[in-house]
């Protein structure tokens, strides 16, 4: 059993090696990116050992190494939790990161600071690992904030661009609102349960857990871009494509869902929170799917589909199936990272062109990318026996057969159908038909870094779902019997979405584009959300900061009330009380007059 903890610690420790190497001459070496990539691949392979052991023995492990501080009755120590969730997630994350690192070698090869980029990506991975394996809330918070800050740095990678900086700040703002929820939950646990250790929190019974759960919910909403706090995710596409692939699709954004999964033992019996979660997830998945329908930026579409899938995961938590949600996290990581990498390949080949209307006919020019993109899209829509199928189909089935909010269910089904629709749209516009890009562009996808990285994830997108769901034991009893139409529902809505979208695209392609309808504008303008929230709120807040806090209170009233008024009254009263008026001439004149008069009177007296 010793091999278990030691090998997992080796995995985690290995990841820090390239960071430490950043102080040596290794860091100014051209080979640093490859070094990082190889380290991660080794870490992945080593991490398979404990995962296999876990799958074999099914034994949770918790290790506490280093005692940090004891405050009154609360002990905080460095503590790792290797249970089902972290043991499955660690290899998945490492595998995906490995591919993305290799992809970045190709994608970022002309960047002068490529070494720093790799260091940032690796730092992000480390914070993610901290988040996943943390056993107490403080450590979780370190990882939680760490991924947020690394996302800020990576979105703002091209810091010369205003958009990138704005997007980075936006991401931090929304994440920070979520963090408030996290801190609230921490505060509640501290005051009421006097612990931040996960086991101890789960052990304690408390009748009313609404406050901490709402806090955690808020945290998840911020981090996983759920409705209300969602706009940062599509904006985050300003970052380089590898960043979108790693952070904003497969790892960081699922941290919120992961948090809810971690704290699921508390949520299990809280019906109110479950309903809220369910509705929130359903709204998110539908709303973002609607937004995805009319976007033209290929990365934006994929980003919205990520948001939609995150909504689906939250729905799954809402129907009390955290294990399914976790399965979807794992499977989703493969094909979503690959979709981003494929769009990265297209974007790079077309000289940074992201508009799908200016692509077309890429199946001839980029056959490998096309294949992967189609497989990825099919996996995303839940095509049977691709990776997405194993989780998505199960989620829809379970939702269909559970006694739950039918409205939320309907929303989820509609969103599922839309997934197929916007996937069709990408394939139709980018890959099929006639080329609409500039003919002078030379397209070449035959770089081993690109091919290998996508290929690895391609195999993942086909087989990973099977492998993962084959190897893990089902934790909840699956629904064994159900009517045909329920069983086929997921597939039917998806196929319906495909056919409808294809027909519409074919039919509309040669029609004249009329003045857009209100529905189109709603979808294209992202539900007017950024217009309202990103204009009105900051404007009022900044105006308040300027007008009322700064100008009115600080510069006027506080100046007036204390210093200015005191000096004013002093001045006035001193003038009123004193006889001195400063009329020097008059004083001298009167002095002279009296003097002469007295002299005269004295002299004439005698």
């Amino acid at each position: 059993m010793n091999l278990f903890t030691s090998s997992i610690l080796v995995t985690l420790f290995m990841l820090t090696l390239p960071i430490m190497m950043a102080n040596t001459s290794m860091y100014i070496n051209k080979l640093y990116p490859r070094y990082v990539k190889t380290t991660i691949s080794y870490a992945f392979m080593i991490s398979l050992i404990p995962t296999m052991m876990f799958l074999h023995l099914g034994q949770d492990t918790m290790i506490s190494n280093w005692h940090w501080i004891t405050i009154q009755t609360m002990k905080l120590s460095l503590s790792f939790k290797f249970d089902y969730f972290s043991m499955i997630f660690v290899p998945v994350a490492l595998f995906v990161t490995w591919s993305i690192m290799e992809f970045s070698i190709w994608y970022m090869h002309s960047d002068p600071y490529i070494n720093r980029f790799f260091k940032y990506l690796l730092l992000f991975l480390i914070t993610m690992m901290i988040l996943v394996t943390a056993n107490n809330m403080f450590q979780l918070f370190i990882g939680w904030e760490g991924v947020g800050i690394m996302s800020f740095l990576l979105i703002g990678w091209w810091y010369g661009r205003t958009d990138a900086n704005t997007a980075a700040l936006q991401a931090i703002l929304y994440n920070r609102i979520g963090d408030v929820g996290f801190i609230m939950a921490m505060a509640w646990f501290l005051t009421n349960l006097n612990t931040w250790d996960l086991q101890q929190i789960f052990m304690t019974n408390h009748e009313n857990l609404n406050i901490p759960l709402i806090g955690l919910m808020l945290a998840a909403t911020g981090k996983s871009a759920q409705f209300g706090l969602h706009p940062w995710l599509p904006s985050a596409m300003e970052g380089p494509t590898p960043v979108s692939a790693l952070l904003h699709s497969s790892t960081m954004v699922v941290a919120g869902v992961f948090l809810l999964i971690r704290f699921h033992p508390l949520m299990e019996h809280n019906k109110t929170l479950q309903t809220i979660t369910l509705c929130l997830g359903a709204i998110t998945t539908l709303f973002t799917a609607i937004c995805a329908l009319t976007q033209n930026d290929i990365k934006k579409i994929v980003a919205f589909s990520t948001s939609s899938q995150l909504g689906l995961m939250i729905v799954t938590i809402g129907i009390n199936q955290p294990y399914l949600a976790f399965l979807h996290i794992c499977t989703h990581a493969f094909f979503k990272a690959m979709l981003f990498m494929c769009s990265g390949s297209i974007i790079h080949s077309l000289n940074d062109e992201q508009d799908i209307r200016k692509m077309g006919g890429l199946f001839k020019a980029l056959p490998f990318t096309t294949t992967s993109l189609i497989v990825g899209s099919l996996a995303l829509t839940g095509m049977p026996f691709l990776t997405g199928f194993y989780s998505k189909d199960l989620i829809i089935e379970t939702a269909n057969t559970s006694y739950t909010n039918a409205w939320a269910l309907l929303m989820t089904l509609v969103a599922t159908s839309m997934t197929a629709a916007y996937s069709t749209r990408i394939m139709f516009f980018a890959l099929l038909g006639q080329p609409r890009f500039s003919p002078i562009i030379t397209i070449n996808e035959n770089d081993p870094h690109l091919i290998n990285s996508i290929k690895r994830l391609l195999f993942g997108s086909i087989f990973a779902g099977f492998l993962i769901s084959y190897n893990i034991t089902p934790t909840t009893t699956p629904q064994m019997t159900m009517p045909h139409y329920l069983k086929m529902m997921a597939l039917i809505v998806t196929i319906l979405g495909f056919i409808l979208a294809l027909e519409l695209n074919l039919m509309m392609q040669n029609l004249k584009f009329k003045y857009p309808s209100g529905l189109f504008k709603f979808s294209n303008m992202l539900g007017y959300f950024p217009t309202i929230i990103h204009r009105l709120m900051p404007k009022t807040n900044l105006l308040m900061g300027q007008k009322s806090a700064s100008t009115l209170l600080d510069m006027t009233w506080m100046e007036k009330i204390l210093p200015k008024s005191i000096s004013h009254f002093q001045m006035k009263s001193s003038i009123a009380v004193s006889n001195q008026k400063g009329l020097i001439k008059l004083y001298f004149m009167s002095f002279m007059l009296t003097l002469t008069l007295s002299l005269l009177t004295l002299s004439f007296h005698g």
Partner: protein, 459 residues
């Protein structure tokens, strides 16, 4: 205690007798050595305190502040070198003498046993600070700033003298070690309310409390770099330190009297944070951010729970180092751009990448990134205020969000974006500056490993 005080005093002859080329190096090196002596006080091996004599003692509350004070003198000296490079030798020596005097007074303030002695030294620190601000500030507004600084603090602290005299005649002693056993419960009455106000207002002004904070942005903006550093890092902490010391006399009245001040602080921290969002002046932004952070300390001290005291102590140290570092960074920009306006210094990351790294780390510590001690401080304060009243989490949450926003806004405006044409031929960052930033950051990072030493006497 003399082994710190005497060497610090001897820094003055050292300054005046050194060769002209050696004045900076000698004083910096020796003051650094002195600060290393002070480090031993962090090891508080008894639960109570270390008594050095009848006049001086330290306990785990004053020791971190003492170390912070001694640590800051070499840093101030390093930061001021460029600022004074055009002055004559005598003025340089005078300047260093002022800094050394200030440090001497601060050390004695933090270790004073008698409250009256504490009061006298507390007031005495005003003089060197005032001279530093009004003599070496950059603009004519410095005179006004000095006036505000002096009058706010004096008016606030004169009632304290009367209160202390009354307490002395009533209790028979003002010895901090004895007084906690002799103190009578302060019941609610008009005269006691006045006593409470007299005792607290001096420190509230010093902190500063929102509403009485006007002197701070002015003084910070106009002060030369060393003045800003010592103001932000240590002088504000005198307020927190004094409050924590004197509250033992004021119970149980504090529970009742705290409400208006809590409200002011909670409200004020949001107001000052939102002022930060609109600042164009870099130093003013950092100054307002100090007000907002110190409001947290006021809240924590007024709540008076173990967690809040720990949070307040940790936050004071963390904020001392962070804000001092931010002022240093602002100064290094100012020395290159010759303006404090942020928009004139944008895009500096391209030109000064290492400086950008310092900016990043300073901003991150300012917004309390885990696991820095800033977070430890803030988190403890939030926990304490949450258990005091659940609703405060809303205000705290807003403040946390805005703090993150303005810290990163500051980072983005100064470091990111395209650089402007007039900054093309600026000087590279000097080793002096880089080591200055490192010396700020190292304690921050090392203390994160073991925050126990700065959690104060309750820990």
């Amino acid at each position: 205690m003399l082994k710190i005080i005497v060497p610090t005093m001897m820094l003055i002859p050292l300054t005046w007798l050194s060769k002209p080329s050696m004045i900076w190096i000698n004083t910096t090196a020796y003051s650094m050595l002195i600060s290393l002596i002070g480090l031993t006080y962090l090891n508080q091996f008894t639960d109570n305190n270390l008594n050095f004599s009848l006049l001086f003692f330290t306990d785990s509350l004053s020791a971190p502040l003492l170390v912070l004070t001694t640590w800051l003198l070499p840093l101030m000296l390093m930061a001021s070198q460029h600022h004074l490079s055009k002055e004559t030798l005598t003025r340089k020596k005078l300047y260093i003498t002022m800094l050394v005097t200030l440090q001497l007074l601060l050390i004695m303030t933090f270790t004073a046993t008698e409250l009256i002695m504490f009061y006298i030294l507390f007031e005495a620190t005003l003089m060197p600070t005032l001279i530093i601000i009004t003599r070496w500030g950059n603009q004519t507004e410095r005179l006004n700033a000095g006036l505000y600084f002096l009058f706010y603090t004096l008016v606030g602290s004169l009632p304290l003298l009367i209160a202390l005299l009354w307490l002395q005649s009533n209790l028979g002693t003002l010895n901090l070690l004895v007084i906690q056993y002799w103190t009578q419960p302060l019941l609610s009455s008009w005269s006691n309310t006045l006593l409470w106000l007299a005792c607290m207002m001096a420190f509230m002004v010093k902190m500063p409390l929102y509403g009485l904070h006007l002197w701070l942005p002015k003084a910070h903006v106009e002060a030369p770099i060393a003045g800003s550093m010592v103001l932000a890092a240590v002088l504000l902490k005198l307020g927190g330190y004094g409050m924590m010391r004197i509250t033992i006399l004021l119970n149980p009245l504090t529970d009742f009297m705290a409400y208006p001040f809590m409200m002011l602080s909670l409200w004020g921290m949001i107001m000052t944070s939102s002022i930060c969002l609109r600042q164009t002046d870099l130093k003013s932004l950092i100054a307002y951010s100090s007000v907002s952070h110190m409001a947290l300390v006021i809240v924590a001290v007024l709540i008076q729970s173990p967690w809040s005291y720990m949070g307040a102590t940790a936050l004071m140290i963390a904020h001392g180092l962070t804000s001092s570092m931010l002022f240093c960074l602002a100064n290094s920009n100012y020395e290159r751009i010759h303006s404090r306006t942020m928009i004139l210094a944008r895009g500096l990351q391209t030109l000064l990448p290492l400086m950008a790294a310092w900016w990043l780390l300073a901003s991150l510590t300012n917004l309390a990134l885990p696991p820095t001690i800033n977070l430890v401080g803030e988190l403890f304060v939030v926990m304490a205020s949450f258990s005091w009243s659940n609703i405060t989490i809303i205000l705290m949450g807003i403040n946390i969000t805005i703090t993150a926003l303005y810290s990163l806004y500051m980072l983005i405006t100064t470091q990111r974006g395209k650089y402007t044409h007039h900054v093309k031929n600026i000087k590279p960052s000097f080793t002096r500056e880089n080591s200055l930033m490192t010396l700020h950051l190292l304690p921050l990072l090392l203390l994160s490993l073991n925050p126990k030493v700065i959690l104060g006497p309750i820990y």
